[in-house]
């Protein structure tokens, strides 16, 4: 297990600095910030066998930028999604509240065969590193009131972008899908209490390896961009289907959100290093 965790950490660690290094020169960059809300549906059998339904509020920040790798086909995306959820069971008794922060870093390659240079449809694929940290709290629990949600994944991501114009107004549609493939997640044993883990320090075995056999999840973002001056408006339908089966416990969370945001397109120019070192006086 330790070797597995080490391998995952190493692969995730490699993704980020390599991409960061390739962002050091002049490049195109698209930054967006969206806010929205929607529907949440969750089941966590450690807390309750019942399905809970409710709402969520979400904040999403994204930076999509071209790298300086020659050829202009490599891109990097840094995506942070923060959402707070509340849900009740069908009976109306009980309340579960939760909060989750998702960070992902993706290194995209623009597929040359499917999206020729200058074409309207552009397709990207690439590896993604995901970090997920959050928790849910059930107000009816005694010694099992909450679940800490902590996980890291290596995922596969694909994105399609299509640009068009209507009534002389430039627009774009984008679809992104992420599927985690390998990872690690924290979770107590089937009937283990947090008293044992945190108070008695008996937390051995709480880190589990995850892959498609126990973590079949999918995140999709369908966005529509409307270019206005001085910025672009973005409407996103965000669907996050996240499910873990760890130590015989099931956790499923579906969030469907509508988000409205703004996009700022930038072209970052790096000054000449020699010139920047010149001190006139």
């Amino acid at each position: 297990m330790k070797k597995y965790i080490l391998t995952i950490s190493l692969l995730m660690g490699l993704l980020m600095p390599v991409a960061a290094q390739s962002l050091s020169g002049s490049r195109f960059e698209e930054r967006s910030l969206s806010l929205g809300g929607g529907y949440t549906n969750m089941v966590d059998t450690y807390l309750s066998p019942l399905r809970y339904g409710g709402g969520n509020v979400s904040l999403m920040s994204e930076c999509f930028s071209q790298t300086t790798i020659p050829g202009g086909r490599w891109f990097a995306q840094s995506l942070f999604v923060l959402h707070g959820d509340y849900a009740t069971p069908a009976s109306g008794n009980g309340l579960t509240v939760g909060g989750m922060g998702d960070y992902s870093y993706t290194w995209y390659y623009e597929a040359p065969l499917l999206s020729p240079q200058g074409g309207k449809l552009r397709l990207f694929v690439g590896p993604q590193a995901q970090l997920r940290l959050g928790g849910i709290y059930n107000l009816r629990g005694s010694n099992n009131p909450a679940q800490l949600k902590l996980g890291a994944n290596l995922a596969a991501s694909a994105m399609a972008k299509y640009g068009f114009a209507l009534w002389d107004t430039p627009m774009g549609v984008r679809l992104q899908a992420d599927v985690p493939l390998l990872g690690v997640a924290f979770g107590p044993d089937y009937g283990q209490s947090y008293y044992e883990i945190f108070y008695l320090g008996q937390g051995e075995g709480c880190v589990h390896m995850t892959s498609l056999h126990n973590n079949l999840s999918l995140r999709t973002h369908l966005s529509y961009d409307l270019q206005l001056r001085p910025c672009t408006l973005r409407l996103t339908l965000a669907n996050d289907l996240y499910q873990w089966t760890l130590a015989g416990k099931h956790y499923r969370m579906f969030t469907h959100s509508v988000m409205l945001g703004v996009v700022k397109n930038l072209y970052r120019v790096v000054r000449d290093e020699e010139a920047s070192r010149y001190i006139p006086y």
Binding site: V43, T45, L47, S48, P49, L50, R51, P89, A90, S91, G92, N93, G94, R140, G141, S142, N143, N144, P145, D189, Y190, G191, Q192, S193, Y195, E196, Y199, L200, Q202, S211, L212, H213, N214, N215, L216, Q243, T245, A247, G248, H250, R252
Partner: protein, 345 residues
């Protein structure tokens, strides 16, 4: 150079596709859902207990508990036309079969409970008589009420472990009682609360780290699926530590975290347990709920004493004493008097 066959794994290989499908279906295993009908609620409750309750094997040995038989017996009493009150009564009776004070069914109109661990026995405690000892000018340090008895014996009453007991409270309390020749800690009719408060108090009575018992948890739905029991140690406190004899007073109402407190204290050398057997309740309770909104609590993680024995049905005292009717009539607490006698020797 030979190529090992298992390295020739292609994504177009049928074995790979079958393996991938198996993984995907395994991760989509269904979560059982229950209807909000009397039958659905009965099934939900029976299954929650069946998959999570931790004393089936122990209680099968103790008194022949058979949860499958209980299903058959109580299923016959369920009818989808029955009233909510009627369903509550049947489900409450079914849970009573577990003979566990940590098992409750909570509805808006009532709480189903098993209190036979204390209701069927002598109370061995009277608040009215206790006032003859505590008086009215006793001190209160958060969850502790304390005074000095006329024979220079400290008396600390802990009515509940639900009220916080901080290190500062204990320092002040023990400092005030420092000149006493012995100490009585009365946890009679203390129904429990927070385990950590019980341990914080017990940590004042040991100068070294001591083994106090074991704990384990369920690892699956089977009645015998348990983790390896892990030792539980009590660390000595860095604050004021008591170095003189101690009597802990217990009765059948000493339950749950208080049972755990007595379990810990009896492992310490200067401590004598006086009074009646404790009520027990050694399982750490978890909660769940039914489709109709009722909440259920049940024992989920069993704990054991240092000899790996269950204390679910209580802990016997070192000195067994009941409050006598004569003493009651005279306003005397037989158990406190016995403790004073022990500490005066």
């Amino acid at each position: 150079m030979p190529v090992h066959k298992h390295f020739q794994f292609s994504i177009f290989n049928s074995q790979f596709i079958i393996a991938l499908c198996a993984m995907i279906f395994a991760s989509c295993s269904p979560i059982e859902e229950y209807d909000n009908t009397p039958t659905g609620n009965f099934e939900a409750l029976w299954n929650i207990i069946d998959e999570h309750y931790c004393f089936f094997d122990y209680k099968a040995d103790e008194y022949g508990l058979n949860w499958d038989n209980i299903y058959r017996r109580y299923k016959r009493k369920i009818d989808d036309g029955m009233s909510s009150m009627g369903l509550f009564e049947v489900l409450g009776d079914m849970l009573d079969e577990l003979r566990d004070g940590h098992v409750n069914l909570y509805a808006a109109h009532d709480v189903a409970r098993y209190w036979d661990f204390r209701e069927g026995y002598a109370t061995n405690f009277s608040e009215e008589i206790q006032t003859h000892y505590l008086g009215t000018d006793y001190k209160i340090a958060s969850g502790l009420r304390y005074t000095i008895l006329p024979d220079n014996i400290g008396y600390v009453y802990v009515p509940s472990f639900s009220n916080s007991i901080g290190e500062g409270n204990l320092d002040e309390c023990l400092y005030a009682l420092a000149l006493c020749r012995g100490l009585i800690i009365d946890v009679r009719s203390n129904g429990g609360g927070n385990l950590s408060y019980a341990e914080t108090l017990a940590a004042r009575f040991t100068n070294e780290r001591v083994l106090t018992g074991y704990i384990c948890h369920k690892t699956g739905t089977g009645h015998s699926d348990f983790s390896e029991p892990q030792p539980v140690y009590l660390e000595s406190s860095n604050g004021i530590r008591w170095q003189k004899p101690v009597c802990v007073l217990a009765n059948r109402g000493s339950y749950s975290a208080t049972n755990d407190f007595v379990k810990i204290m009896r492992t310490l050398p200067l401590v004598t347990i006086v009074g009646d057997r404790t009520g027990g309740g050694s399982g750490l309770p978890f909660s769940s709920e039914l489709p109709n909104g009722w909440s259920v609590r049940f024992s989920a993680c069993p704990s054991f004493d240092v000899d790996m024995q269950h204390t679910e049905f209580g802990i016997a005292p070192d000195i067994r004493v009941d409050m006598t009717d004569d003493d009651r009539a005279r306003g005397v607490d037989t158990i406190i008097e016995t403790a004073r006698e022990i500490l005066s020797r």
